[in-house]
Amino acid sequence: MAEQTIAMGKGEIGKKRSKKLTWMKENWILYLMLMPGVILTFVFRYIPMYGVVIAFQNFSPIRGVFGSEWVGFQHFTRFLTSPNFGMIFDNTLRLSVLGLIAGFPVPIILALMINQIRRKGAKKNIQLILYAPNFISVVVVVGMLFILLAPTGPVNSIVTMFTGEPIFFMSKPEYFRTIYILSGIWQGAGWSSIIYTAALANVDTQLYDAAMIDGASLFQRIRHVELPVLKPTMVVLFILAAGGIMSVGFEKAFLMQTAMNLPASEIIPTHVYKVGLLSMDFSFGSAIGLFNTVINLILLIIVNTIVKKLNEGEGII
C-alpha cells in the first residue's frame, strides 16, 4: 500500500512537471514579454550588487573588479574608527527615528479628522489643498526654507519683533532636525493620509449603526470602529518605515546642508556621496553604503519580529 502511494506520488510529480513544461511551451510569448523587465532589473539592480565585492577591495576602475587588490574589512574598520563615525551614525539614526515618531501619527490623525467632515464638497477641497505640497519638488521646498527662514526673511522679521535678534535657522545645527522634520510633515502628511482615508471609506456602515445603538460617543466610535479598520495599514506602513530608517531621504538633507549645520546634517547617505563620488574613493564609499544596507535589513527584521509578536503573528515577511 505504502509503496503504491509513493509510486503514485512520483508519477504525479512527473506528470505535474511535464504539464508545467507544456504550459510553458504553449505560452512562451508570456516569457518573452517578461524579458525586457527582467533584463532591465538584472542590469541595473543586480549587477550593482557587486558593490558588495568592491567594498572589500581597493577598487581601481582601471583594473576592474577582478584585478583589484583584496583588503578584507579594512574599509569598514576605517569607517567605524574614523573620528566622524559617531556623529554621522548618531545624526542618521536621530533624524529618521525622530522623523518617524513625529511624522507617522500625523497622516492617521489627519485622515480621522477629515473623515468626520460630512459635507462632500468641503471634504474634497480640504484634501485638494492638503495634498498640494506633495507636488512641489524637494529643491523648491528647500529653496523656500532658505528664503523664508533667512536672517532677513519673513519668519525672522517676526522673531526679531520679540527677541530683537534674528535666528540663523539654516546655519545652526540645533535647528536642522526640527526644520527637516516639520517641513517634511508640511509637505507629505496630507498626501500620506490618502491611504488611511481610503481605508476609512470602507468602514462597514453596520458597525457605525451598532455603535450608535450602543450609545458610543465620537471618541468611542473612533477607538472601536475606525482605528481597528486602520490597523492593518498602520502595521504595514510602520514596518516599512522602520525598515527604511537608515535610508532617510538623502536629497533633502543634502540640499539643506550648509557648512555650518554639518554637525547635525551630515548623515550616512550624504557621506557616501561625498566620499564615494566627490572624492572618488569608490571602495570606501561602497563599504559605508553596505554598512547602511545591512543595518537597514537588520532593523527591518527586528521590527517585523516585534510587530508580529504584538500583532498576533501578522507581519509583512
Partner: protein, 292 residues
C-alpha cells in the same frame, strides 16, 4: 448619525483645527506667490494693507523668462519626464501582464526576483560605476532607463490586470487568441486608467527629481529644470569680493531675491495647477497600490 452635545462641540473644534491646518499649508505658498509680484522687502516692512501700487513689479518674471538656462531646463525636463513616463508604462505593463495570468508557471520565482530589489541594492557607487562602464554618462539614458521599472508599479499594474474579469480573456482564448493578442486587444484597452496613473506618477517623479541628473550629467545644456533651480535657489553664493560697489551689491541682492520668488512660482505652478484635474487618478494609484 447620533451626536451628543460633547460630540457636537468636538466636531466644531475639529473643523476649526482643520481650517487652521489648511491655512498653515497654504501660508508659505501664498507668501511666495504674493512676494513674487512685489519689490523685495515690501512684505517685511509693513502689513498687507500697506502695499502700494508702486510696490508691484513683474521684473522678477521678466528676468526669469528671458533666462535661457531656465527655458532650456523646462524643455529638458519635459523631454526627460515624457520619455521616462513612456518607458515606465511600457516596461511595467509588459512585466505585470504575465504575472497576472492565472497559472503562470514560475510566478513565485519571478516575483521574488523583483521583490528582492526592494530590500537589497548595490547602492550609489556601484550603480554609478555601472552607468559609467556602460558609457551612459552624459546621456539621457542614465536618467530615464535605470528607474523605469519599479516593484511598486509592477504590483500596481498586476493588481489592476487581475481585477479585469477573467471571462473576457477566457472567451478570447476559446476563439484561439494567443496571450499576446489578448494582451493587446482586450487587456490594454481596459487598462488605460492604470497606464495613465503610471505615466502621471512617473512624469511627476522625474519632473521633480534632480539627483540622477546631478551625478550623471556634466553638460550644462542638458541640465533639467530642478538642477537649474538648485543653482538659483540654493547655491546662490553672492561673492562680496567680486563687487566693490556697495550700491551694486544691494541691487544684485534685490534682483537675486526677485528672481528666486519668480522661479519658485514659475517652476511649481504647472504641476500645482494641473494636479487637481488628475487628483482622482493619483488617489487611485495610491489606493490600488496599497491593496497589494
Amino acid at each position: 448619525m447620533h451626536y451628543t452635545k460633547i460630540d457636537k462641540t468636538l466636531l466644531i473644534v475639529n473643523k476649526l483645527v482643520l481650517v487652521m491646518i489648511v491655512l498653515i499649508t497654504l501660508l508659505p505658498l501664498i507668501y511666495v506667490l504674493l512676494a513674487s509680484f512685489l519689490e523685495p522687502g515690501t512684505l517685511l516692512t509693513g502689513g498687507i494693507t500697506d502695499i502700494k501700487a508702486s510696490d508691484f513689479t513683474l521684473d522678477g518674471y521678466r528676468r526669469v523668462l528671458q533666462d535661457s538656462t531656465i527655458i532650456r531646463g523646462f524643455i529638458n525636463s519635459f523631454i526627460y519626464s515624457t520619455l521616462f513616463a513612456v518607458l515606465t508604462v511600457v516596461f511595467t505593463v509588459l512585466t505585470a501582464y504575465p504575472l497576472s495570468v492565472n497559472g503562470f508557471v514560475g510566478k513565485k520565482i519571478v516575483m521574488t526576483f523583483f521583490l528582492i530589489t526592494m530590500f537589497i541594492g548595490g547602492g550609489l557607487i556601484p550603480t554609478y560605476l555601472l552607468i559609467k562602464d556602460l558609457g551612459m554618462l552624459n546621456t539621457v539614458w542614465a536618467i530615464v532607463l535605470p528607474g523605469a521599472l519599479g516593484v511598486f508599479n509592477i504590483i500596481l499594474a498586476k493588481t489592476y490586470f487581475q481585477g479585469i474579469p477573467k471571462e473576457l480573456s477566457e472567451a478570447a482564448q476559446m476563439d484561439g487568441a494567443s496571450h499576446f493578442q489578448i494582451f493587446i486587444k482586450i487587456i490594454l484597452p481596459l487598462a488605460k486608467p492604470i497606464m495613465f496613473v503610471l505615466a502621471l506618477f512617473a512624469f511627476v517623479g522625474q519632473w521633480n527629481s534632480f539627483f540622477d541628473a546631478m551625478i550623471y550629467l556634466d553638460d550644462p545644456t542638458m541640465r533639467p529644470l530642478q538642477l537649474v533651480l538648485r543653482s538659483i535657489l540654493i547655491q546662490n553664493e553672492v561673492q562680496p569680493g567680486m563687487i566693490n560697489d556697495q550700491a551694486a551689491m544691494i541691487e544684485m541682492n534685490r534682483i537675486a531675491q526677485m528672481i528666486q520668488y519668480a522661479t519658485i512660482v514659475i517652476s511649481s505652478l504647472p504641476l500645482l495647477v494641473m494636479y487637481p484635474f488628475f487628483q482622482k487618478y493619483f488617489e487611485k494609484g495610491v489606493i490600488v497600490g496599497s491593496l497589494k
